[in-house]
Amino acid sequence: MSGLPAAAVDDGVAAADERIPLTLLTGFLGSGKTTLLARLLAHPDMGETAVIVNELGEVGIDHHLLTRVDERTVLLDSGCLCCTLRGDLADELRDLIDRMDAGEIPRFRRVAVETTGLAEPAPILFTLLTDRVVQTHYRLDGVVTTVDAVNGADQLARQPEAAKQAAVADRLVVTKSDIAEPGAAAALADRLRRINPHAAVLTVVQGEIHPDDLLAAPVRDLRVVADELAAQGHGAAGAAGGHRHDHGAHEQAADHADHAGHQHGPDEAHAFSIVLDAPLDWTAFGIWLSMLLQAHGSSVLRVKGLLDVGGTGPLLLNGVQHVVHPPQHLAAWPDDDHRSRLVVIARGIEEHAVRASLVAFDGTARRS
């Protein structure tokens, strides 16, 4: 069977993308998001940045105010533009471009958007990825999620939204470590790495962080993450010679027993990886993943992959619950290791069933 996703190839490589990078700032209620935002807005290096917030009054920027552009937009002394969200985020983002082009506001080179504490990240990402005007001007650069060291572990255990916000993150910011019990911040950081090992985990006290560290911190290498998960028993590698195999249930149980430090309950969000030796059939993979997300979208919190679908470079795949970014074909592999790697963050579904299903779909396509 086939085959390459042709339009993805046409999209080119990330380096050629000149759209304005957009960072989504999320976090559970009381997790220190507003404190972080207030310190960020006051930072002298926030020039040429537009920040969309829920309430201007909440972020305490009066003594940094340079000009009030209109009733909902202010220019700060750093050159940072701050405006409140009126309603629809896509409308707001389009309006910012229109006002910049009309010369009503200064030019900006990056955007940060604050979400409400209870916001589900997937619908916001869906808006960003499906609005054609927004897609033309902005690219989603990353999601920053704040989790506080005092209440974060409890929220992750009890609140479904908190685990979703941690899973969707590219940068996880542990806050309030200065007022938490000794060791709480480190324990939370470990828990966050088990949920989302791909994200950078940063510890911040009183919102003190350089904007570039927050808005442009690199994520971890997906291939390293996938291989670490496999080494911990949360992954399966394809056998040599292009033939794949799947760990059976007993083998999985043994793997988990060998890694008691990474035990988790069946409904606890955690990451696992699938590593495959031979190129994937793209048609079968697309059908498999779309079907998986339809049937288990509330359990599959995040899917990220670097896949060999037979082209010269890998295909980068990034999905959040039901929402999948347009796959991006990279120009080349970084080295000779072309194995496909898929990292899944999920809860309430069996790792070995996901693997077995993918292998069965791919094997069927390969033989038809």
Partner: protein
């Protein structure tokens, strides 16, 4: 089927292969997808009740309606069926 992330690009051959593979999977639930002139897709259940399908994302929603329940790719019976077919 043009707007779904898994379907962007590709030509007639890809459409034919996609439908053929989908039918291998859908047969597990007694469903069949037809491609009418490479323009319109129609999904039918074993009773012959059919519905048009705009894209892959909607396919699974419509398939659930026609099937009267979810189509789970992790269903052990489906995995077994596909594995045997591939062996």
């Amino acid at each position: 089927m043009t707007d779904h992330w898994a379907e962007v690009g590709g030509g007639v051959r890809d459409r034919i292969e996609r439908v053929r593979f989908l039918n291998t999977v859908l047969a597990h639930w007694g469903l069949r997808l037809d491609d009418w002139g490479n323009r319109v897709y129609v999904l039918r259940n074993w009773k012959g009740v059919g519905k048009p399908v705009p894209d892959l994302g909607k396919l699974w929603v419509i398939a659930e309606q026609l099937n009267g329940g979810p189509l789970d790719p992790l269903d052990p019976a489906l995995i077994e069926r596909l594995s045997q077919a591939a062996a």
